[in-house]
Each structure stands twice: as C-alpha cells, then as structure tokens.
C-alpha cells in the first residue's frame, strides 16, 4: 500500500506539471471534437492524430492520447443528446433518453449529467485501476471464445429481457442484429458471407453507420414532412444545470454504471459498447418507473454514460499491467509508446502498482 501511495505521489508530480496538464487539456478538447463528429470515433481520432504526438515525450504523448480517448468517449454523447445521432457506438443508448430529455427542454441537464457521470466514472476507475489492475488483468486474459460467447449471449438476453415491451420482438431484433453481423468474411474459414461480390462488405457492417441510420436518418425522415419546423430551444443559463431531483436520480445509476463499466471494460473486445447496453438494461430493470425509459429518464443517460467511460479506464488494465492491449485503441496507444523505441510493459512490470501516469515513467 505504501508503495502504491509512493507511486501515486510520483505519478501526480508528473501529471500535475503545467506542460502535461496542457497536453491533457488539448487532448480532451480535440477528443471531444472528434467524438462529436458522427462516424469518426475514438479509434479513428487517435489513429489520425497519432503523428501529432511524435514530437512529444512518451509521457506527454500518452497523456494527450488518453485525453483524446476520454474526450471522444464523452463527445459522442453531445450529438446523441442534441441531435439523436450517436458520435460513436458507445453513445447509442444515450440517444434514447438523452434526446427525449432534450425534447423536453432538458438538453443542458442531460449534457451536464453525461459530463459529471463521465467524470466520476473516469476518476473512480483510475483509483480502482491502480489498486486492482494486476489481478483483474490476469482474470481477463483467461477469457477465451466460450467465455466471450457466453458474455455476448448474456448481454443480448439481458437486453431483450430488460428492455420492456414484447420480449419476442426484442429477441427478434437481437437475432436480426446478429444476422447483420454475419455479413462479411467469416473469421474462421475466410468465406465471404452475403457480400455479393462487393469488396467493401468483406469487412462487415460498421456499428456507427447502422446506428446513425437507425437513429439519425429515422429522425430526419420523421421530421421531414412537418409543416412547422421543430422549435429551436433557447434555454437560460440556469436551466442548463440539472435540478436537485435529477441529481438525486442520477447518483445511483452513475455508481452502478461505474462499477459495471469497469468490470466489463477489463474484458478485451468492444467492452465500452456492451457496458453501455448492459447499464441501460440494468437501470431500466431497477427503476421504480421503468415506463419513463425512452421518455427522458435521467438514469437512462447517467448509467450508460458512466459505464462507457468507466469501460474506457478498464481497457487500460491489461495494457498497463501486462502489456497486452485489450482492443484496437489500447493497441494504437501501445504502438505510440513503442514508436519511441521504448520497451512495452511486461509481465515482470505487473508487480508494480500501475497507474495511467506513473506507468509511463519508466519508458520516458
């Protein structure tokens, strides 16, 4: 424990340097802008901006890339809430209640709750990351194909069971989604499935184009024929802040979303997407007023937004503790570190209590 605190102090001494804070700020701003753009997303954003970090020290580069990552994860919620167009896949669930809140004139409150939820989840998970990373990383690496299959099946069933309305329809939509996922090259055999000679379909259908089509285009079509255009909301500054009731209703979902997101985030794969889906389903199930979900429930914004940000931290666990990237984004960040001819973390370094900032020190 003493060593953890010592490392933490060392980490803060680096992280609180003005230059590092400046790069963190710049990363968050750029990341938020990237997240707001539908279809770009954190992976594309980090990949595109990777060359911009080549002139920086490893610490500054990793801090900036982490800022871009977190910023993009938050930025995706802005267009979800205001326009019902998810900036990236993990913000799909925020579209439902975030946009409904905006339609009720609570756009500012929804944005604030998403921001605070993301901040709390990110902060709490950084602490958990320092303390729990090595054992959690070892656990995550035991996940094989059967465990993944079981986890995804659980996610779909939980969503179908908890989403309310007709369970048969929910299951039918889950199966339809799985069928859409069949398009492209079969990973096991290399066969092209349902691609009809179109090379682009070999990669399958992206989550973001489908989500933008389902939510964004549907909204455009639904409002296309309105004789009176939708009213532009001009809230006063104090209306941008959530009310006391909204804060109260969002606290527990934020806590649950944080825990769920971190635990699911440790597991390699598209954890940040799954975590937001599971969080939404859990909140709906636990709510005393499940009928409010879809109509602007605060918990429907607070839970998923906290979960996807907590999953972002969780994704660092295997990377920082064992040097094994848990998904494409940590892999790109690991590549950024490797591009400076620095050794990547190894299993022997897992003995050290890792933190996102102190872990970069040995490779500075």
């Amino acid at each position: 424990m003493a060593e953890t605190l010592q490392n933490l102090g060392l980490g803060f001494s680096v992280a609180l340097q003005p230059a590092v804070l400046l790069y963190a700020f710049a990363g968050c701003v750029v990341g938020t802008l990237v997240g707001v753009l539908p279809g770009v997303g954190p992976l594309a954003g980090i990949s595109l901006l990777l060359p911009a970090t080549f002139g920086l020290t490893a610490t500054n580069a990793i801090v900036m890339l982490a800022g871009i990552y977190y910023g993009a994860m938050y930025g995706g919620s802005t267009t979800s809430i205001l326009m019902r167009i998810p900036g990236e896949a993990a913000s799909v669930m925020t579209c439902i209640d975030g946009y409904a809140m905006a339609r009720k004139g609570r756009a500012g409150a929804a944005l604030a709750i998403a921001a605070v939820g993301s901040f709390i989840a990110g902060t709490v998970r950084v602490v958990a990351l320092m303390l729990l990373a090595p054992p959690l990383a070892r656990f995550a690496l035991r996940f094989g194909p059967p465990e993944y299959f079981a986890l995804l099946l659980l996610g779909l069933l939980v969503l179908a069971y908890m989403s309310g309305g007709s369970m048969v329809k929910s299951l039918a939509m889950a199966v339809l989604g799985l069928l859409l996922g069949m398009i492209g090259i079969d990973q096991m055999s290399g066969y092209f499935r349902f691609s009809y000679g179109i090379v682009e379909l070999g990669d399958g259908l992206g989550v973001v184009p489908i989500a933008v089509g389902l939510f964004g285009i549907a909204e455009v079509l639904a409002t296309a024929g309105q004789e009176v255009p939708p009213q532009v909301l001009k809230p006063k500054l104090r209306e941008l802040l959530p009310s006391r009731r909204e804060w109260r209703e969002s606290l527990m979902p934020m806590g649950r979303g944080t825990v769920l997101g971190f635990l699911i985030g440790v597991i390699p794969g598209s954890a940040h997407i799954i975590s937001s889906f599971v969080s939404y389903a859990v909140e709906r199930r636990l709510s005393r007023h499940p009928e409010e979900f879809g109509e602007g429930a605060v918990a429907g914004v607070a839970g998923p937004e906290s979960a996807n940000n907590a999953a972002t931290s969780g994704a660092f666990v295997p990377m920082l503790a064992l040097g094994v990237p848990s998904g494409p984004i940590p892999a790109v960040m690991l590549a950024a570190r490797a591009s400076r001819s620095s050794p990547r973390p190894t299993r022997s370094s897992a003995a050290r209590p890792p933190s996102p900032w102190t872990s970069s020190l040995p490779w500075r």
Binding site: V168, L179, Y191, T223, A224
Partner: protein
C-alpha cells in the same frame, strides 16, 4: 385484419427465408465443427420462429390501414437523394455530389431562396471537405479535375 405486428412478423419470416436460401451456398459443417453457413442458418431458423410468433400474437396491434405516413413524400425524396449520394460519390467526388444534393434539398424540397440554398450548399460541402479531408486527413473521393 392486417395489423402492424402481422406485417412486421411476415417481413421477418420472409427475411429469414431469404437468409436460408442465400446460406445454401455456404458449407454448413457439423455441430462440433460449424462451417460459415451454420450460424446464419441457425439464426435464420430462430428469426423465422420469432417472426411467426410476432405475427401470431399481433392480432390486437394497430391496423396497418390506420397508420398514416404524412411525411412519406418528403421522406422518399430524402431517401432518393441518399441513394444518389451513394452512387455518385465515387464518380462525381465528394464536393460536387454534396453540392448537388444539398442544392436540390434546400432549394427544391425545402423551397428556400436560391441564394440561401447556394450559400448553404457551398459552405457545407466545402467546409466538411476541408474539415475531414484537409484537417483530419480522411481521404474523400475526388471527381473530375480533382474537384
């Protein structure tokens, strides 16, 4: 009576049959060694059953005749413009395609003034190209003369 659920259930069943038909070219494999056609086939069967259930339980859903779509004309025009963008993007390039599509939508569909439509279309087509292609270096299709 044709209800929305019955219509939806039938559509799901039709889709399931289509997937089964298309999966026939893919090796099925076995239970222990499933081939590329195994999972789509299995999912298609499940979808057929679920679609049938949705239809069978859809007696009390809203009648299709009562469901209106007042914005159909505008929506179909937007979809047609979307299709035009998909097919024209590679040939005409991003800027020309978006310019044409936005001009059509704002001037002819939304019936705004020509000046407004041209200004909006030029600004959005040029601005978004600059942001993605120039600033973010996402290569967007270019048309004749590199436009």
């Amino acid at each position: 009576m044709l209800t929305t659920d019955r219509l939806g259930g039938s559509a799901l069943c039709l889709l399931a049959v289509f997937v089964m038909w298309e999966s026939r070219r893919l090796p099925l494999g076995t239970w222990h060694h499933p081939g590329p056609g195994y999972f789509p086939g299995l999912l298609a069967v499940i979808l057929f059953v679920l679609g049938g259930l949705v239809g069978a339980m859809g007696k009390h859903a809203a009648s299709v005749a009562t469901v209106g779509w007042s914005e159909a004309r505008q929506a179909l025009v937007i979809l047609a413009v979307g299709a035009f963008i998909c097919f024209a993007l590679e040939g005409l390039g991003y800027r020309l395609t978006m310019l044409a599509a936005l001009l059509f939508l704002v001037w002819l569909v939304e019936r705004r003034s020509l000046v407004t439509a041209v200004t909006f279309a030029l600004a959005l087509a040029g601005g978004s190209f600059y942001l993605f292609d120039t600033v973010l270096r996402v290569p967007l299709p270019r048309g004749p003369f590199g436009i």
